[in-house]
């Protein structure tokens, strides 16, 4: 049995239709994710409009260094994921698998950086509650959004890391063939997690430092 026939699943007549079907399904899922994160961004926009000065003051306390370094890490992971997906399309097995592992390592690096950042935030006491260090009460709303949005993003990234690991292992064992649409599907999800982070960076890190 050739690799092509092994990758083809019911009910698709050919691999091209199967790949389009998979991409269609993933984008339907991503559209629901857009609405999920969109509701968070919308809530942020409303409260930022109502309490602009408090949000600016609160955003000034975020760790810009960690935010920028983690963005660089995540953009680089999208770069290696792109090479992995295109490598799979062209039949470069070793390149694809290597790039998937590098992508996975960068994803873990992002979470480690996030851990250091969370530690720094907690040491300074920036968790909404009775002992919050900033005097203006509405700054706690910003920090509530900070914890929820970055936390939910980290959960999504963790799922992505798991998916990339499974695909890399299955490709390595040849259980999954390169022309399977699975690599493309995981790639789309990974890029989407990066897209969400690109949206979060200005809202959290960049608007309070001028």
């Amino acid at each position: 049995m050739s690799e092509t026939s092994a990758a083809l699943r019911e009910p698709w007549p050919d691999l091209a239709r199967q790949r389009e079907g998979v991409a269609f399904g993933v984008w339907i899922f991503l559209a629901t994710e857009v609405m999920f994160f969109g509701a968070l961004f919308l809530g942020y926009a409303v409260y930022r409009t109502l309490y602009a000065e408090a949000f600016r003051e609160a955003a000034a306390e975020t760790e810009l260094f960690y935010g920028v370094v983690n963005t660089v890490v995540l953009l680089t992971s999208s770069f290696t994921m792109t090479v992995a997906v295109r490598g799979a399309d062209l039949g470069y097995r070793r390149l694809t698998i290597a790039c998937l592992w590098v992508t996975l390592a960068l994803g873990i690096g992002f979470l480690v950086g996030k851990g250091f950042e969370y530690h720094a935030d907690l040491v300074k006491g920036y968790f909404p509650g009775p002992h919050f260090p900033l005097p203006v009460r509405q700054t706690q709303i910003f920090w509530a959004f900070y914890w929820v949005m970055t936390g939910v993003h980290a959960v999504h990234l963790s799922v992505g890391i798991g998916l990339v690991m499974v695909v890399a292992i299955l490709l390595g064992r040849r259980t999954l063939t390169l022309d399977s649409a699975t690599v493309t599907a995981v790639g789309l999800y990974w890029h989407f997690v990066d897209l969400i982070w690109i949206t979060l960076v200005p809202l959290i890190y960049l608007t309070g430092h001028s």
Binding site: L42, A45, G91, S210
Partner: protein
């Protein structure tokens, strides 16, 4: 080696093509960070989101291969954007027009 194999891009070509977009994303990130030290006042969110939007366009068009999508896939992506916009506009009509 058949003609299709001879024509397919080399691994180096893949790195270079994706690397160009990667550099573009880096340049836009650097611009966004630089702008965070410029006092834009109440316009700062709009300025930063504009740069971030450019990054998202690069990511979706080139890394997520939107440019190669069929009409069905493009419509699916745009439907997501449409409903997101719809949600923002309806909410803005309420909050930002209150007396």
């Amino acid at each position: 080696m058949n003609s299709q194999q001879q024509q397919k891009p080399s691994p180096l070509r893949l790195w270079l093509d994706a690397g160009l977009i990667w550099l573009g994303l880096f340049a836009l990130l650097a611009l966004n960070v630089f702008l965070s030290f410029v006092p834009f006042g109440s316009d700062s969110v709009a300025v930063h989101m504009t740069v971030s939007f450019a990054m998202i366009v690069l990511l979706v068009v080139f890394f997520m291969d939107f440019k190669a999508y069929t009409a069905l896939l493009r419509l699916t992506v745009l439907a997501g954007v449409f409903w997101l916009t719809f949600m923002f506009v309806l909410t803005a009509c309420d909050y930002f027009t209150r007396q």
